[in-house]
Every structure is written in C-alpha cells, then in structure tokens.
C-alpha cells in the first residue's frame, strides 16, 4: 500500500513522457509507409490499444481466478478495476481499426475471424461488468463474473492466432512473429514508446481505481462498526 502511494504519481508522469515522445515520433518524426502512406500513423494508436485489450483481459482473468480460488479480496478488487480500462482499450482498437480499414481495405467492417473475435472480447468485458454488479451481494457477483472471465480467457489465443489459422482480411502479426518484426526500426521505435505509454497508463489508472475502491470499502466497514456501537 505504501509502495503503491509512492509509485502511482511516477506512473502518471511516465505515461505523459512516453505518450508525448511516442506521439511526436509517430506523427512527425517517423516516415510514411511505402504502401499505405500517411494513413499508417493510425498504427501508433491501434496496435497499442489492441495489445492492451488482450493484456488487460489476461490480467482480469488471472486476478479474478486468484480471487475465486484463493478468496483473495485484493485480487477481486484488481479484477473489477481492470475491466472498464480493458473495455475502453478494446473499444479504441475497434474504432481506430474501423477508421483504418475504410481507406486501406475499402470497408469499415468485415466479419473476418480477427475482427469478430475482437468484438467478442468487447462483449466479454461488458458481460463481466454487468454480471459483477448484477447481485445484491457483491461477493456472489465477484464469483459469478470470475467464472465468466475464466471461460472467456479462451478467446485470447483465438484472437492472437486468428490471422494464422484462417484466411482473414486482417494482415498477420507484424511484431511477435517468427523471424522477428517486419516493421522498419524507424516505425518500430515510436510504436514501442506508445505501447509503453499505454502500459504505464493502465498501471496508473489501475492503482488509482484500486486505492479508491479499497478506501471506500474501509470507510464502509468503519461506518458499519460505528453504527453497531451506537446501536449497543
């Protein structure tokens, strides 16, 4: 808890610095693409957002699973705090992907395996959030939604490998692939900076949200104790 208090503002500053440098390099300091021209710059938001959508879901499922199996209350708080952030990243990836798809592919949306599985991920986030708050007893909500989160985990490898297993309109992976990245270093650097910025942003907001939630639950417990004392 002490450590989190120290680290949190640093994460915030790190996000600002990484995002500033990444956006500057991405939008001004990097070359256009030989095929796509200037439109390629959507990549510097789209790829980190999609990456974090998968990362957050994995984090969500793991912490929900720890909360379910070992009954660890902080893990449950972490899972609940991660879900809306991940949902936003997923939405951002879908939105920027659509804006990118229109000029490059000639369509806003197609039902290919990558795009569809990504949409399913977005609905999994929404389903988790809905189920989590659907019960009067927050513990039952946490357990029911944890099961959904674990079942939905199967979608993560499906998204990742969808472009290899099936013919899709979406192109195959450019960074994590056999034979190294197929992105020119001049474009890879700003991309990595943006991925770093999105990651620190997630950790920063996660810390803020968890602290808020833990403080709120402590406040509730104290109020309950006070009420009981007053009643006696």
């Amino acid at each position: 808890m002490k450590l989190a208090t120290v680290v949190t503002p640093w994460l915030g500053w790190l996000t600002v610095v990484l995002c500033g440098a990444g956006l500057y390099l991405g939008l001004y300091g990097s070359p256009a693409d030989y095929q796509q021209g200037e439109t390629v710059r959507i990549m510097y938001v789209h790829v980190p957002a999609a990456w974090m959508a998968l990362f957050c879901y994995t984090a969500l499922a793991v912490s929900a699973g720890v909360g379910l199996i070992w009954r660890h209350p902080v893990a449950e708080v972490a899972a609940r705090a991660t879900a809306p952030i991940g949902a936003c990243f997923t939405f951002l990836a879908l939105l920027t992907g659509s804006l990118w798809g229109k000029p490059m592919w000639g369509t806003w949306w197609v039902w290919d395996a990558r795009l569809t599985s990504m949409l399913v991920l977005f609905f999994l986030y929404l389903g988790y959030l809905a189920l989590n708050s659907a019960f009067d007893d927050p513990q039952r909500g946490a357990r029911a939604s944890a099961i959904l989160a674990l079942v939905g985990l199967i979608n993560v490898p499906i998204i990742k490998f969808s472009v290899d297993w099936w013919n899709t309109l979406h192109q195959p992976a450019s960074i994590v692939r056999m034979g190294g990245p197929s992105v020119h270093p001049a474009m890879l650097w700003p991309l990595f900076l943006m991925i770093g910025a999105f990651t620190t942003y997630y950790l920063w907001v996660l810390m803020l949200r968890m602290r808020r939630e833990l403080t709120a639950s402590r406040l509730r417990a104290r109020r309950r104790m006070q009420a009981e004392e007053a009643g006696v």
Binding site: G106, V163, S174, S182, V183
Partner: protein, 156 residues
C-alpha cells in the same frame, strides 16, 4: 486448505474442457470462419459455386484492363491457379498489380463477377525510400502475397 485445492482443480479441469470445446467448435465451423477462398479452392471444386462467395489472392501482374463504364477486368492468382474477375465501381487505393485483394461476388461461366473489392495489405511496414532501395538492390521479395495467397486455402 482442502477446499482451496478443490476449487483449483475445478478451475483447471473446467478451463481445459472449455479449451477442448472451443477447439472442436472452431474446427467444425472452419469452413464458415474462413473469410475468403483461393482460386485453387475454386478450381478443385471445394467451394459451392451457386451462391455468393469471396475470392481472394493476388492481382496477377499485367492482367489489369480498364474497360468502359468504370469496369475493370483482372485476374486473381494464388500461384497455382488464376481466375478472371470483372468489377464495376471504384477500386480501393491499395488496388494494384501484385497486391492482395478479396473480392465478393458470383462465378458466371469462367468469369468471377465481383460486387465488392477489398484490398489486403501485408504485415510489412517500411518507409518508401527503404522499399525503393530494396527493389534496386534486388533483395525485394514480393511479400504482399504471402497473406493473401497462402495456397491450399484454409488450414494451418
């Protein structure tokens, strides 16, 4: 302690079962998950031809012909087989010879009449100068097709 282990076992077994179920379902629906078919699939008769299908591959070099009324004729190839395609309308910016495309339409006789043409782009990103330099030095590989022209159609 005991219950904790029980829950862990339940979760592990449950996840494994979900994984198996998903794998079975996905391999059963493989045909409908595939976004497009290659000319080889069509030539080998793997595709039902009496309904709208998507045909994907590379635009064969030297095959693009502009005709009257914004009609474009070209051939889609996957290296093994090629199919003649006609399309009336505006083509996407990335459409060019050697580029991966996905077209949607019907086969009429030997010609595929497309109602929609989508361009695929590959997973390679580089500045134009680098692409030119690679082409000059002869180390250029036409990677554009790799994704679109995976011959043999769907599968691993």
């Amino acid at each position: 302690m005991k219950r904790k282990h029980k829950r862990l076992t339940f979760a592990a077994v449950g996840l494994a079962l979900v994984g198996v179920a998903a794998a079975l379902a996905l391999s059963a629906f493989e045909e409908s998950i595939v976004f497009f078919h290659s000319p080889t699939d069509v030539a080998e008769g793997k595709v039902e031809m009496d309904r709208r299908i998507r045909l994907g591959g590379l635009v064969e070099a030297g095959s693009v012909q502009k005709q009257a009324d914004a009609v474009t004729g070209f051939r889609i190839t996957d290296g093994a087989h090629a199919i003649a395609v006609t399309y009336q309308g505006i083509l996407p910016d990335l459409f060019r010879e050697g580029q991966g495309v996905v077209t949607e339409g019907r086969l009429r006789g030997a010609t595929f009449v497309a109602e929609e043409v989508l361009a695929k782009h590959d997973e390679t990103y580089m500045p134009p100068e680098v692409a030119d330099a690679l082409k000059k030095s002869g180390r250029w590989q036409e990677e554009a097709g790799k994704g679109a022209a995976k011959t043999g159609g769907p599968g691993k």
